[in-house]
Subunit: 380 residues, 2 copies
């Protein structure tokens, strides 16, 4: 095992009708709320009205910033932070999926400063304080609800980057599986793939730790058992519950105990596809993971074989494991080649350039620029 | 799943030479330290000298309370709290195993009051504030280093009771497997049994949760794989590391996600054996668990069979599962009958009376006084 520090101060509220304590939780922090949400699904589902009514009946003063895009952008973060600063909000309430919550983490540390929010991502500025953040999750996928990480794009610079600090943990996150019942089939599948990919990034990280490996296999096996069932039965609360819980566990720190870091090379490459072609995050991962395992099989064949054998409960070689994992992603209806996304035009050059520009790399499996073309060929 | 709230603010520092940041961590809270430890093993091992030297060289003002007994008693808690109150300590440093850390949790909330510490256990008084607690763990067993619970005996009342509140989480816990290398064989085995029993209490608790069940099986299987290896090779750092990590995971909250509570009936009965005969906590659990499963097999036969089948990777009936689990405890060198402890005299009556007096019961498998005698017969 590698030395590690486990620290996660998020209070997670999980289950049916869990929002009944949202108001009293927000009250701990004050009366002026900045409500952040996305491009309308919370309005369609009725959750927006329900929360607004609830907050107003309890006397909160609410200002709102809607329209956060999936694959969120830094301009929205700056604009929402300016609003929150202007209105001197006491607390941020993020209602949505990974994009909304990630954006809100940066809004929370940007409000107390006058610096452009992108400066946190470049390291030019370090956060010194944060407006408390409370989240209501509507998409089971990224695990952002129980970690300090945020990934945001800066299209002016052609970059998609991650940031996190002890100040960017949500204070409270409310997870009612009911709120994910309206997520369509494709995004449900991407969420399942995303949580599995998070486990894989841990699995291929730095540090040997047998118990944490068991936890990782537990989470992936849960997703592989109930993910397909959920996709056959999208209205099934019990399956939604299992996937929502698994997605949170997949990136709340426990898969990293005893590792100094995950690998994150596939995420790093996947961000380029999202930047260039707005490929949904989960889809970018199912496209790149099989290719990445094939490209770097010689460096991690033992780990690939151990992963496949653990997941499918039979002795598999690395090659067999990759085939089975790819077949599983396909069975979810996820793309495993970029061509599955029907993106037109010359692709090799822009992807290569974006990978160079974003310095795509993994912490364990090191990539050089010379590796990029071979990897790209395997997922086109 | 049952609704649940996950909250664990402990910062866990795990690994080799992890004490290098102990001083800077304590400094966050102030300069006056109350050092709490047990009956001398930390002096024998040299850890006491090392920490004292470290603290003094960094200018801390240290007062100390040594002599906390295994199966800790409320008198020590009151005396240590009086000392800490008198010296106006800023922070408590607990160096030891479960008894020292459990005692220190109550010392932490007792210092700011003038009430007898037992009043927390009876519910007569609720804690309102706490002196920050930092721990250095020297025994892999109870999991106390990453949870808010404390179990303390009151011999005057013939009671052994548990207490916990959000105020009784340690702020920081330092775990270096090196510090457990000197733990003798018997207590090493009791620690392994204790962590397994914690998992069992979760397993037999209230609430169905497939992923958490996988976590529970992961922890027990890790302990069953590496526990016996450690007992054959007590100086093996790697095995110490695995058991120390597993013990922390076994009672840090994650085995309870999706359950409203564990069962805790076996712990509740085990406390009576510790009270009456000073049976080590872990030993009391290996004595009672097989008997408890046999006595209440008809109520939880499905869960017992699922547990045994999951642990031994083959289809087992409830009866076969119990036999295999009992055989495993025996293989560790742990007692599975009270007679293995060589305790003399009439036993049935005092144990029965203590169970009645302590209202022994489980949250899921309810026990009535009429059940006690049958249970006792199975473990004598």
């Amino acid at each position: 095992m590698e030395n590690f520090i486990a620290y996660n101060p998020v209070t997670l509220h999980f289950g049916r009708n869990i929002l009944s304590t949202l108001g009293s939780t927000l009250k701990e922090y004050g009366n002026r709320v900045l409500l952040v949400y996305g491009k309308g699904s919370v309005k369609k589902s009725g959750l927006y009205d329900r929360i607004m009514q609830d907050l107003k009946s309890q006397g909160f003063e609410v200002c709102e910033y809607g329209g956060i895009r999936s694959n969120p952008v830094i301009e929205d973060v700056d604009a929402a932070a300016a609003l929150g600063r202007d209105r001197r909000v006491d607390v941020i309430l993020a209602v949505g999926g990974g994009s909304v919550i990630d954006s809100s983490k940066i809004i929370a540390v940007a409000i107390p400063t006058s610096d452009p929010a992108w400066d946190f991502f470049t390291g030019k500025v370090k956060p010194v304080s944060a407006i408390p953040l409370v989240t209501v999750l509507t998409l089971a996928a990224t695990g952002t609800e129980m970690n300090p990480f945020a990934v945001v794009s800066n299209h002016a610079l052609g970059q998609k980057s991650a940031f996190g600090s002890p100040l960017t943990f949500p204070k409270h996150s409310f997870l009612d599986p009911e709120f994910t019942l309206t997520v369509p089939r494709d995004y449900t599948a991407y969420g399942i793939a995303d949580l599995i990919a998070h486990c894989f990034e841990a699995w291929f990280g730095v540090g040997e730790t047998t118990l944490t490996d068991r936890f990782v296999l537990s989470i992936v096996k849960e997703a592989m058992e109930y993910g397909p069932k959920l996709l056959e039965d999208l209205d099934n609360y019990k399956y939604r519950e299992k996937i929502m819980f698994a997605a949170t566990m997949a990136l709340n720190g426990m898969t990293m105990y005893g590792r100094s870091t995950g690998d994150w090379g596939v995420h790093s490459a996947g961000h380029c596809l999202s930047l260039l072609y707005d490929v949904p995050h989960g889809a970018s991962l199912t496209i790149i993971y099989p290719a990445w395992m094939r490209r770097f099989e010689n460096q991690v064949s033992g780990r690939i074989s151990q992963l496949g054998s653990g997941l499918f409960d039979e002795a598999l070689t690395a090659g067999q494991s990759i085939d089975r994992i790819e077949a599983f992603f396909k069975s979810l209806g996820c793309p495993t080649r970029l061509s599955d996304m029907n993106i037109q035009g010359e692709l090799r050059r822009p992807i290569y350039d974006s990978m160079v520009h974003n310095k795509v790399n993994g912490a364990n499996v090191k990539m050089k620029e010379g590796d990029y073309s071979g990897l790209i060929e395997l997922f086109l």
